[in-house]
């Protein structure tokens, strides 16, 4: 039973759903694949997550404690989904951006706080300044493509998706963002 479980967290409007679509579009034809999204109210600046599953899978949601990847397009939203990560083999990939929730008098953790909290739980933490790299690629909205690039470089995503199919489905800016994401991360 081969399976790949991914949970991507972010803030509504960051391209979380598009990122799930990018991955699933490129799944190798020998595997089943399903992604599951939250729409509606959640798109209004709230926390959003997408579950992406590949391999011998039928169910739409990732079981807790089993994800091979937990990805945060925004750092706090990455942390919010840490419960899905496998504590033995899970990889946490985080864009080092914190977006303040639009509620009065909220107190926020720092990036270092988040890294420390995640490290208590899983071994491999990967950080990347995806916003800066997306801008270098030509569009701030390409943060999701940057993170897809990083996922291709760490862990077993490559076993399940066809890189050339993935790259061919993207425009120039997003392709560039994927390449930048492949090379410019740090593993902590």
């Amino acid at each position: 039973m081969v399976k790949l479980n991914i949970v991507i967290g972010g803030v509504g409007g960051q391209g979380v759903i598009t990122m799930g679509k990018m991955l699933i579009r490129a799944v190798k034809p020998c595997y089943r694949a399903i992604s599951s999204e939250t729409h509606g109210l959640a798109q209004r600046g709230g926390g959003v997550n997408v579950h992406v599953r590949m391999g011998d899978v039928y169910a739409p949601l990732v079981p807790l404690g089993t994800a091979d990847y937990v990805v945060g397009l925004e750092a706090i939203e990455g942390l919010r989904n840490i419960k899905y990560a496998s504590s033995t083999s899970g990889i946490f990939i985080m864009n080092t951006k914190i977006q303040r929730p639009a509620i009065p008098k909220v107190s926020l953790p720092t990036i270092d706080d988040i890294i420390r909290l995640v490290k208590e739980y899983i071994k491999t933490v990967v950080v990347i300044d995806a916003e800066d790299l997306a801008l270098k690629a030509g569009n701030l909205k390409a943060v999701n493509s940057v993170l897809v690039g990083t996922m291709l470089s760490v862990g077993k995503l490559r076993d399940f998706v066809d890189e050339s199919v993935l790259l061919n489905s993207l425009n120039e800016v997003n392709r560039k963002a994927v390449y930048l994401g492949m090379d410019n991360y740090s593993v902590l």
Binding site: S35, T38, H39, G40, G46, P63, G65, I76, R100, P104
Partner: protein
């Protein structure tokens, strides 16, 4: 065969096209919206966003009794609005085919309740088709149309968020030419005066017998063993991944009604049964009825093992299956981490945020210090959150006016009703007529952002019909509009209206008119201006980020405001809110900017 990457809802639209749908109508609502959105791209069919679910239902019904193939779509609560027509449609049946798609929202990600609409199938005697993933959603939609045409009866297609909003590769067939109707007058069937209704009732029960017989073909028995799991909807997807083939599974494609013969065959030689279904014990109850009637003594587990509330997850189904099969379950311990909440927020540039600020200041200036904010359903429902606190109740579409009436009659406190433009046309008109008819002193604020915004900027009747004219036509004597970004003028209009209501003891309507920011951004090209904070003028008073709460304004050193340049859209709404005039706009506005906001 073609293979497409489709969302569950896109699969349903595709299935409808392959079945020959000619007329489709719906009202947007998460998680149902993408079906009509997808169908609107087709040129050879008639597809519309109706003003509400009842009208959409009647449209599809009118087409189907004329022999056409029709589809109506809505979210679960929308079927309550259409339920008057729904129940009687089962008495008459249809000539062509009619599929009623209702999308449920267990866990209430985007809804006020998580009602299980399969109950409507039991109540109205309408069969319920229930897919478990996008592929089965596609396949069952085609079959639902065929079945409806065959038994001459409307059919319900009920699925929930994790089917509607899941995406997979789907094998699709060929689109079929639309099946249109022709004029068909049979008042002896379709005009439900009592004598016709009585005759139809007998025929309805006969059709129900036929339907109960015929639904067998949509249900499948897989695997074998002494234990039987009966699944419906997304429950199957979890069970399929969790159990080996030493367990018998009855997968129901139709969960209402159950077929006695098929059930008896499924339980034959079985020691124990587990029913895995989301929300209510619909299958479980029908199953127990059959077993009782047939004197089959069998332990049936259902809602004692599978929770009745919230959507299904691996953990919920896993726990139930482990208990049922006597397996060891590894309970997962969630890490205990404190994380700040991130509730959905009004977008940067949202006119509602400004309207709420204007409203709170305006009514106080008008002398209304204590009121009840009777709210409604839309993006502006987020006004329930701090710092706004301007939605003291909201339970259903159009509730603001009726509830305001009751609150006033009971307390003598003048209420403020807050309703959006799409909701106003959906179900606000009758409440407004009642307010005029019964002389309700109420300040009605219609937040007109020109679209049905919450579901993704779907169109709204407000683009075609002026709300002020409607209000005047219904007899409202005080009708004015304001631009919510213009703080000073807005406060003047609101306070004037408030004083008028207090003095005349009658309803007043004021319309806050400014387009949804997302809709404006969708239509604009070119660079946007951006807000800039003058650090020398900013005192760190926190009004802009703690009391206006635009997501694009964050806190910097010394509590001073900092603009998040990735989120700011340069709308300028924050400028009048700053008491120290510390915020200005930098950069030119793109061409057509003001027109888009205010047209």
């Amino acid at each position: 065969m073609e293979r497409l990457l489709l969302l569950g809802n896109e699969s349903i639209a595709r299935g409808a096209l392959e079945a020959g749908v000619a007329v489709a109508a719906g009202y947007p609502g998460t998680p149902s919206t993408e079906v009509i959105e997808t169908l609107l791209k087709e040129r050879d069919r008639y597809v519309e966003w109706s003003v509400n679910e009842k009208v959409a239902f009647e449209t599809a019904y009118g087409a189907a009794i004329s022999g056409a193939y029709s589809l109506v779509t809505m979210k679960h609560v929308g079927l309550n609005v259409a339920s008057d027509a729904l129940i009687s449609s089962s008495y008459t049946g249809v000539e062509g085919a009619m599929v009623i798609f209702s999308a449920g929202d267990p866990s209430m990600w985007s809804s006020q309740n998580e009602q299980d609409n399969r109950y409507y199938g039991l109540m109205a005697l309408i069969p319920v088709f229930e897919p478990f993933d996008p592929q089965s959603a596609h396949d069952l939609t085609v079959k639902a149309f065929e079945f409806s045409a065959k038994v001459k009866h409307p059919v319900l297609l009920v699925s929930n968020t994790r089917v509607n909003h899941s995406r997979t590769w789907v094998n699709v067939g060929v689109k079929k030419a639309p099946v249109w109707g022709k004029l068909n007058k049979k008042p002896q069937v379709y005009s439900l005066v009592p004598s016709v209704a009585r005759a139809n009732r007998e025929k309805q029960l006969k059709r129900w017998e036929l339907i109960t017989e015929e639904v067998k073909e949509f249900n499948v028995i897989e695997g074998d063993g002494k234990k039987l799991i009966i699944t419906a909807g997304v429950g199957y997807a979890y069970v399929k991944e969790l159990v080996e083939d030493n367990v018998r599974i009855l997968r129901l494609g139709v969960s209402v009604p159950l077929n006695k013969e098929q059930i008896l065959k499924a339980v034959d030689g079985v020691d124990e049964v587990l029913v895995v279904e989301e929300l209510e014990p619909i299958v479980e109850t029908q199953l127990k009825n059959i077993l009782f009637d047939e004197d089959v003594r069998l332990k049936v587990h259902g809602k004692d093992y599978v929770p009745r509330t919230g959507e299904l997850t691996f953990e919920k189904v896993g726990r139930a299956v482990a208990k049922f099969l006597g397996l060891q379950l590894l309970e997962f311990k969630e890490p205990e981490i404190k994380i700040p909440d991130r509730p959905p927020a009004l977008c940067p540039g949202c006119p509602h945020r400004s309207s709420f600020i204007d409203l709170k200041r305006g009514i106080v200036k008008g002398g209304l210090n204590v009121t009840f904010f009777s709210g409604d359903i839309g993006c502006y429902s987020l006004g329930v959150l701090p710092p706004f606190n301007v939605q003291d109740s909201l339970i259903e579409m159009g509730s603001s006016l009726g509830i305001a009436n009751g609150v006033f009659r009971a307390t003598n406190t003048i209420p403020v009703a807050v309703i959006g433009d799409s909701t106003f046309f959906h179900n606000g008109l009758s409440g407004l007529a009642n307010a005029v008819y019964n002389n309700l002193p109420v300040l009605i604020v219609v937040l007109d952002n020109r679209v049905t915004a919450m579901t993704g900027q779907n169109p709204s009747p407000s683009r075609e019909i002026e709300i002020e004219e409607v209000a005047k036509g219904l007899g409202v004597e005080f009708v004015k509009w304001f631009d919510p970004f213009d703080l000073k003028k807005s406060i003047d209009v609101i306070s004037e209206a408030t004083k008028w209501v207090k003095e005349k003891r009658k309803p007043a309507v004021i319309v806050a008119k400014r387009a949804c920011a997302l809709d404006v951004l969708d239509k604009i090209n070119g660079d946007l201006p951006i807000a800039v904070v003058d650090e020398k003028k900013c005192t760190g008073c926190s009004i802009c980020y703690d009391f206006f709460t635009c997501p694009a304004i964050t806190v910097g050193d010394n509590k001073k405001a900092v603009i998040d340049t990735s989120l700011c859209i340069g709308c300028g709404a924050c400028i009048p809110v700053c008491p120290h005039n510390a915020i200005t706009l930098k950069g030119e506005t793109p061409k057509g900017w003001d027109e888009l906001w205010l047209s």
